[in-house]
């Protein structure tokens, strides 16, 4: 395999890790809620995309519908359940797991075991000896763009300022007039929307089944564990590092050792950097 296709392979793997994790990292990093229904939100994003595409919408518009569906689902989830569980991470784990169970099983009951898949757009190109889908480039670009957009939102806007203040000290933030409940509501919506983006983007590349969330959740948690709660200092380097390890090992020794290497890297990093990369790269736990 030549260098160019290796680089592309690495980009795809890192983009997958990044997109899987970014929504989870926002919700975990900002709110301390471990959202086990994250995979199901991604699944809803893909389902929304797929359903509207099969009803004749162009792909881009269908993707926006998918993101909308996941965001809406996340906001309903927050309004009905999550808001009662702030500051109780263990209970929120149990409840979001139950929500994920209901959503994926409910989807299976209502929509059946699978939806017709969406053809991957943009055709393909040949690099060296291998043929690659041009859509991969879109995915890589989208992963970087979504990360930058979230970073901009948190660092450069009034909402981001208030969100970071709430995260660091909710009481003081409230004392100076920031509505904590509103910040939590919109942060959760942001995380859900990012999950929807991931689902919508990967919808044309995967089979659309109710359990598809499961193929993202492992990577999402692995990346968030390695990275910690911060997006730019945690999630990005973690996704790149893990993506690099997995790609290199896969290229050299095959798929299995790639996954094994990922596992080993996570366990080693848990020992060496137990609070995530962000803690050491930025000098504090949160952005």
């Amino acid at each position: 395999m030549d260098i160019a296709s290796l680089v592309l392979q690495f980009g795809s793997t890192a983009a997958f890790l990044l997109l899987s994790a970014v929504g989870l990292a926002v919700i975990f990093g900002m709110m301390g809620v471990v959202n086990l229904a994250h995979g199901e939100l991604i699944m809803l994003g893909a389902y929304g995309t797929c359903l509207s595409y099969s009803h004749g919408l162009p792909l881009a518009a269908a993707m926006i519908c998918g993101v909308g569906l996941a965001t809406l689902a996340g906001m309903i989830l927050e309004a009905t359940i999550i808001r009662r569980l702030y500051g109780r991470p263990a209970e929120s784990l149990v409840v979001t797991w139950a929500v994920g169970l209901i959503v994926s099983q409910g989807t299976l009951i209502i929509l059946g075991p699978s939806l017709p898949s969406i053809p991957t757009p943009f055709g393909s190109f040949v690099l060296g000896t291998k043929s690659f889908s041009a859509y991969r480039i879109v995915l890589i670009a989208a992963s970087v763009l979504s990360l930058l957009a979230v970073h901009f939102l948190l660092k450069r806007t009034r909402f981001g300022l208030h969100a970071r203040a709430t995260m660091q000290n909710p009481e003081i933030a409230r004392a100076i007039g920031i509505d904590n409940a509103k910040i939590y509501r919109w942060t959760f919506a942001l995380g859900s929307a990012l999950a929807g983006v991931t689902g919508a983007l990967y919808a044309p590349t995967m089979s659309i089944v109710p359990t598809m969330g499961g193929s993202f959740i492992v990577q999402a948690f692995v990346t968030v564990v390695t990275g910690g709660g911060n997006l730019l200092y945690g999630t990005l380097p973690a996704a790149s590092g893990l993506g690099f390890i997995q790609t290199a090992l896969t290229a050299a020794f095959g798929n299995l050792l790639g996954v094994l290497g990922l596992l080993a890297a996570v366990i080693v990093s848990a020992g060496v950097l137990p609070n995530g990369l962000a803690y050491y790269l930025s000098g504090k736990r949160v952005s």
């Binding site: 009951i109 692995v222 299995l256 996954v259 020992g271 137990p274």
Partner: protein, 358 residues
């Protein structure tokens, strides 16, 4: 000896006094009679329920007392199961070597839990990070084991078997005057009841011992505990190894019960189960014991009668119980009945402190 038995009752466990122990004895006698009279299918089902209780008790101890919420119970469950399957397949059923496989598996789980715990706790991970790290370990192990299909994945004479897992390992076999005695069916049931009763009593003693107090001190305020001279990391590690080893016991017991182990036992759904049992029942040992069996019976009933709605119903039950009764349904019921019977004031004070930091 007397002072050790004295520790069966204390601030860290619910239930005390003659009334509680008489009820417990009645339940035990009922379980023994059930094992003799019920149909062999019912006995096998009951054994299946009891198999999981070790793992739940381990989590109740770890989470309830030391405050460590581990998602790794299923990883250690699977490790125990796989280890027994591989060792027992290689050793064969003769000469009591399955007992060696059993002990070896639990020991191996304890060693691996100690290594993982050393990395985590001495590396400085706490709280929800421990949960996520252990979850990642469970899920990665599942991914790894699912890929082990094919003849190249072979340890000795045992094929690891990928998604399908390992089947047809020998059950626990005890050499008995020349002819081997297989511990299955009713014998397995009685064996598991005996081990479970001993484990439960031992954990009550551990919970009310000085070590139990140290775990609570660490959970309530690690810095103050450290200032008072407790080795916080060692206490957390010891609780983690103890709880994880119990998950290993469950894994071995499950494998010898069904003569089957597969990566399914480590997926996200499986990894959340012990947490669900413990959270819904309450983190007290007795409450978890009762609640785990009730919840297993409930999910089995739902699976039989609810067909595809079983999971939805299970999820709704969980959400409702966590939102309306955060201290656990069984624990709440026990507290209500215990406060009627007189003692338990002291228990209630500690429990209030417990829930503040849960």
């Amino acid at each position: 000896m007397k002072s050790i038995l004295h520790l069966l009752e204390g601030d860290q466990t619910l239930g005390r006094g003659p009334r509680f122990w008489c009820t417990a004895l009645v339940v035990l006698v009922g379980a023994l009679v059930f094992g003799g009279l019920a149909s062999s299918f019912a006995v096998d089902t009951a054994s299946y329920f009891l198999v999981w209780v070790f793992m739940a008790l381990g989590l109740a101890l770890m989470w309830g007392l030391s405050g460590t919420l581990s998602f790794g119970q299923t990883a250690f469950f699977g490790l125990g199961g796989y280890c027994y399957a591989i060792v027992a397949t290689n050793f064969g059923p003769d000469n009591g070597l399955t007992l060696v496989a059993l002990l070896l598996s639990v020991f191996l789980v304890a060693v691996i839990a100690a290594i993982v715990g050393l990395f985590m706790f001495f590396g400085g991970a706490r709280g929800v990070f421990v949960s996520i790290i252990t979850l990642a370990i469970s899920l990665s192990l599942e991914t790894f084991l699912s890929q082990t299909a094919g003849p190249q994945w072979k340890l000795g004479s045992a094929l690891i078997g990928g998604f399908n897992g390992i089947t047809s390992m020998p059950p626990i076999t005890i050499p008995w005057f020349g002819s081997d005695y297989e511990v299955t069916g009713r014998a397995f049931y009685y064996a598991i009841v005996a081990v479970l009763v001993l484990t439960y009593l031992a954990l009550r003693i551990v919970g009310n011992s000085r070590f139990g107090d140290a775990m609570v001190a660490v959970r309530e305020n690690p810095r103050r505990a450290e200032a008072l001279g407790y080795n916080v990391k060692a206490v957390l590690l010891a609780a983690f190894v103890l709880g994880s080893s119990l998950a290993g016991v469950s894994g071995v017991a499950f494998t010898t019960w069904g003569l089957y182990v597969s990566p399914d036992t480590m997926g996200l759904a499986a990894a959340a189960m012990p947490i669900v049992w413990t959270a819904v029942s309450g983190k007290d040992l007795t409450a978890t014991f009762i609640g785990t069996i009730l919840l297993l019976a409930l999910s089995q009933t739902l699976a039989i009668y609810g067909s595809q709605y079983a999971y939805v119903a299970l999820g709704v039950v969980l959400i409702a119980s966590v939102l309306t009764c955060p201290e656990g349904i069984v624990e709440k019921a026990m507290r209500l009945s215990l406060s009627q019977s007189g003692p338990g004031n002291k228990v209630r004070t500690t429990s209030r402190a417990r829930w503040r930091n849960a």
